[in-house]
């Protein structure tokens, strides 16, 4: 056997080994059919097509803050329905989920951390141009303040000509951020700017002082004991210790645990993490579990920016995916105009800004209108289906899927053995199909694709097609060989060509059948797995099998 001729088999073996190690180390993610959980279907009222993307974004964000693991918010192809999968069947937690779905989006305007207006206090003023204007590449949104907010806004803006005011949507208010000191240092050394005139803040000070979310910075390094007596003495003498602003306050593990407990006693019950809970030092994980804190994982990928500042003369950067903006709910930062800064109550104001083109200006204005429209989410949502999947049943399902696989392999092997009466061929077919299962699972593992019952059905479909194709390859090869003429190799090549014509046509039809099926959320897992299986088949396993058969016949 020469390597040059057998590279296809080699590729198969290498990728199978890779997949096995992936599945063994990274593991597989199972859907709520197997782990237990609840599927909710939401219907948006008429006109929902226009705002479904904001609804999905808001729901994702809110559910994430609730700290439920592997929550999925999926948009249906008709743009009127949303499927939510949460990993709980507990009625109390489900009630929370439903509250969150129906909850009002809380709009907040703050001036350097101080509240100006919140929720219903600030509304779109539709008496002026229907609430928004576009002129050239600029947008304008008219708002009015009611309740206590005119007075409050007047006070917090007094003397702040040219200062910044931040707009938040669903800013977490009972949460703190826990991050390692390296990340803190990075954030405290990077300036923050969300407006051309926005200066004087670092990323860290923005989070703490303008978004009012405490940040606890831990270090696993042991720090030298600090002389605490002096501080206590000073405090007793009535001297306030000011934090040294340039020096970062980092806490060792024990101090972190203390700080977290202190925050909890102040009613701050949610911990926001830029990494997975499992990646925290063990002591901190234990503390979080013991104190029963809600964990909101906002895992920051290396590609994700913390925040993109304005560059010189560049257009407004898109921060909708940036970590700080997602976590704090920051939507926009505006410059306070001179007319608002005399301390008089502010009954109405104008938010305005520019955009690269009029189309984007219109989009920004539309988003402001959505955020400012009081009521529920931008549109009325009704929960039209709530379907629990019991975890006990799911575990059993998984066991039985294993049993099905074993029995199916035995039965298929018997059919193949009866037909060919050559153990080598039967073994080759079974092993190749088995390696195809492993490759699909390896792909599921590396792409974090969630395996649900539909995906298992997709694997069955892919393997079924795989076995069929191997039978075609085998028969063509055997017949090519039987007519052994002067030019044996040519005959086999021709036979295999015919086999691959059949296989490619069949793969193309399968993929074209599965693509439209992707539009139905409940069957997406099935369609996707079938397509992946077919692609793996025609690119890796079938060519390798063709080579194997040439050898064993």
């Amino acid at each position: 056997m020469k390597l040059k001729q057998n590279w296809r088999i080699l590729v198969l073996v290498v990728i199978v080994l890779l997949s096995i190690s992936l599945v063994a180390t990274k593991g597989l993610r199972y859907g709520i059919d197997f782990t237990g959980g609840t599927e909710l279907k939401l219907e948006l009222a008429e006109g929902g097509e226009e705002v479904i993307d904001s609804v999905v974004e808001i729901l994702k964000n809110r559910l994430n803050k609730m700290g439920l693991k592997s929550t999925q918010v999926l948009k249906e192809a008709d743009n009127r329905h949303i499927t939510i999968k949460v990993s709980t069947t507990n009625t109390g937690e489900l009630a929370d989920v439903k509250n969150i779905i129906n909850k009002q989006a809380v709009f907040e305007q703050r001036v350097e951390g101080e509240l100006c207006a919140k929720g219903d206090e600030i509304q779109l003023d539709i008496s002026q141009s229907g609430g928004a204007d576009i002129y050239g590449n600029n947008w304008r949104v008219y708002v009015k303040n009611t309740g206590d907010s005119p007075e409050r806004c007047g006070q917090v803006m007094e003397g702040k000509d040219g200062h910044m005011t931040d707009i938040f949507l669903d800013r977490p208010d009972k949460a703190f951020i826990l991050m390692d000191s390296d990340t803190c240092t990075q954030l405290s050394n990077t300036p923050f700017s969300n407006h051309p005139d926005d200066t004087g803040y670092t990323m860290l000070s923005f989070i703490e002082e303008r978004a009012l979310i405490p940040v606890v910075c831990y270090t696993t390094a042991v720090k030298p004991e600090e002389p605490e007596i002096n501080e206590t003495l000073l405090e007793e003498l009535g001297v306030r210790i000011r934090e040294n602003e340039t020096e970062l306050k980092t806490l060792d593990i024990n101090q972190t645990v203390e700080e977290v407990s202190k925050l909890l006693s102040e009613g701050i019950t949610t911990v926001i993490l830029p990494i997975r809970l499992e990646e925290l030092p063990q002591e901190l994980q234990d503390t979080i579990t013991d104190l029963n804190l809600t964990v909101a994982e906002y895992v920051k990928s290396p590609q994700q920016e913390f925040h993109i500042n304005y560059g010189a003369n560049s257009p407004r950067p898109d921060n909708s995916e940036s970590w700080i903006d997602v976590v704090t709910g920051l939507k926009s930062t505006l410059r306070i105009g001179a007319g608002l800064t005399y301390g008089n109550p502010v009954y109405s104001s104008v938010f305005e800004g520019g955009a690269p083109n009029s189309e984007q200006a219109r989009e920004i204005a539309e988003r402001f209108k959505i955020w400012l429209t009081s009521g529920n989410l931008p549109i009325k949502i009704s929960i039209i289906l709530e379907r629990p999947n019991l975890p006990e049943l799911g575990q059993q399902f998984l066991n039985y899927v294993g049993i099905i696989a074993v029995i199916a392999i035995i039965l298929v092997a018997s059919v193949v053995s009866i037909r060919y009466r050559k153990p080598k061929i039967s073994l080759a077919i079974i092993l190749t199909s088995f390696s195809e299962i492993i490759l699909i699972l390896g792909f599921a593992s590396i792409s974090s694709w969630e395996l649900d019952l539909a995906a298992i059905a997709g694997i069955i479909a892919a393997i079924g097609t795989g076995v069929d194709h191997q039978i075609i390859i085998t028969d063509e090869t055997l017949r090519g060989e039987r007519r052994r003429s002067d030019d044996k190799l040519w005959d086999i090549k021709k036979a295999i060509n015919r086999a691959f014509f059949i296989i490619f046509t069949s793969a193309a039809t399968t993929i074209s059948a599965m693509l439209p099926l992707m539009s139905i959320v409940d069957l997406r897992g099935f369609a996707f797995t079938s397509i992946v299986g077919v692609l793996i088949g025609i690119s890796i396993t079938r060519p390798a099998y063709a080579r194997i058969v040439e050898f064993i016949t």
Binding site: Q395, V415, A454, N497, F501
Partner: protein, 298 residues
């Protein structure tokens, strides 16, 4: 003597061609009125998992106040009893709670029992989208088949087989009272995929090896095709055997639809499709020689 001689020498191939379409047409009324599952029609699903013993009659009489007609699946799971109850009616949580409460269920047990109500409107949307998906997939697959064979008669022979497979499968399922749900739509597309596989194999063998006698080509294709269908039927039987012990709806749908569909496919492939190819081959001796394989390094 191979399959081809045994069947085609005894019966006029025109009768064989007509047989599956006639069966499909006879089954058409049944196929159109196939019973649909509650995700299409609307209704309620209730899952119960408890340590107590459940009997069908007990559940039926207890819940009779909440729904007029229902299907009940009982099974033992890891020492617990589980029931899956489905009805076309809308059952409210309040009604279920009071009905099962009277039957002796504790509050704690009731807190984990929650009826999933499927709205009929959602079902109508799903039916519409399921139908659209099947139609779009059918058109795309037909295009691929035409591109592959570049000749109308063999292509139509392949496509008719897929259509009649679906119709016969739906008709037979309807006659045995099988309820088709959303997973069944996926199963129908899977069926079409398998059906086209054997048909493409048959067509390319018949039209691609004109140096051999027709009967030999037909026999070879038959042996390969029967092995293909046989392995799929074997795998589906594994599912049917195991799901006798545990109720896994998605997978049961797929196995049942494929089992009936592949039985239909035996007729549409080996009577109709092969018959059409025989007619096509005898009619245009020069026509099918144009057939070439051009995809793979030739």
């Amino acid at each position: 003597m191979g399959y081809y001689e045994r069947v085609f020498s005894r019966v006029d191939y025109r009768i064989l061609i007509a047989l599956p379409p006639v069966i499909a047409l006879l089954l058409l009324p049944a196929a159109i009125h196939i019973p649909l599952g509650i995700d299409f029609t609307g209704g309620t699903e209730l899952q119960i998992l408890t340590n107590r013993d459940l009997t069908e009659s007990q559940l039926r009489s207890a819940l009779s106040t909440c729904a007029s007609d229902m299907s009940i699946h009982l099974q033992e799971l890891g020492g617990k009893s589980s029931a899956i109850i489905r009805t076309k009616d809308e059952m409210t949580k309040e009604c279920v709670d009071s009905a099962l409460g009277e039957a002796g269920f504790t509050d704690e047990e009731l807190s984990s029992i929650f009826p999933s109500v499927f709205k009929p409107e959602l079902g109508r949307i799903l039916i519409e989208r399921g139908t659209n998906v099947i139609i779009i997939a059918g058109i795309l697959m037909s295009i691929i088949v035409f591109l592959a064979f570049r000749s109308p008669v063999p292509s139509i022979a392949v496509i008719q087989a897929a259509i009649f497979d679906i119709l016969i499968a739906l008709g037979l399922l309807s006659l045995i009272g099988f309820e088709l749900n959303l997973a069944g739509v996926a199963a129908l597309l899977m069926l079409v995929g398998y059906s086209i596989d054997t048909d493409i194999m048959l067509t390319s063998k018949i039209l691609g090896q004109s140096n051999k006698p027709f009967g030999e080509r037909a026999n070879q294709a038959f042996v390969t095709g029967i092995t293909m269908t046989g392995t799929t039927l074997a795998a589906m039987s594994a599912i049917v055997i195991v799901t006798g012990f545990i109720h896994m709806d998605t997978i049961v749908q797929i196995a049942t639809v494929l089992l009936t569909g592949l039985l239909a496919d035996l007729a549409t492939t080996w009577f109709t499709n092969l018959g059409i190819l025989k007619w096509y081959a005898s009619r245009s001796k020069s026509g099918y020689h144009r057939f070439r394989f051009s995809i793979f390094r030739s």
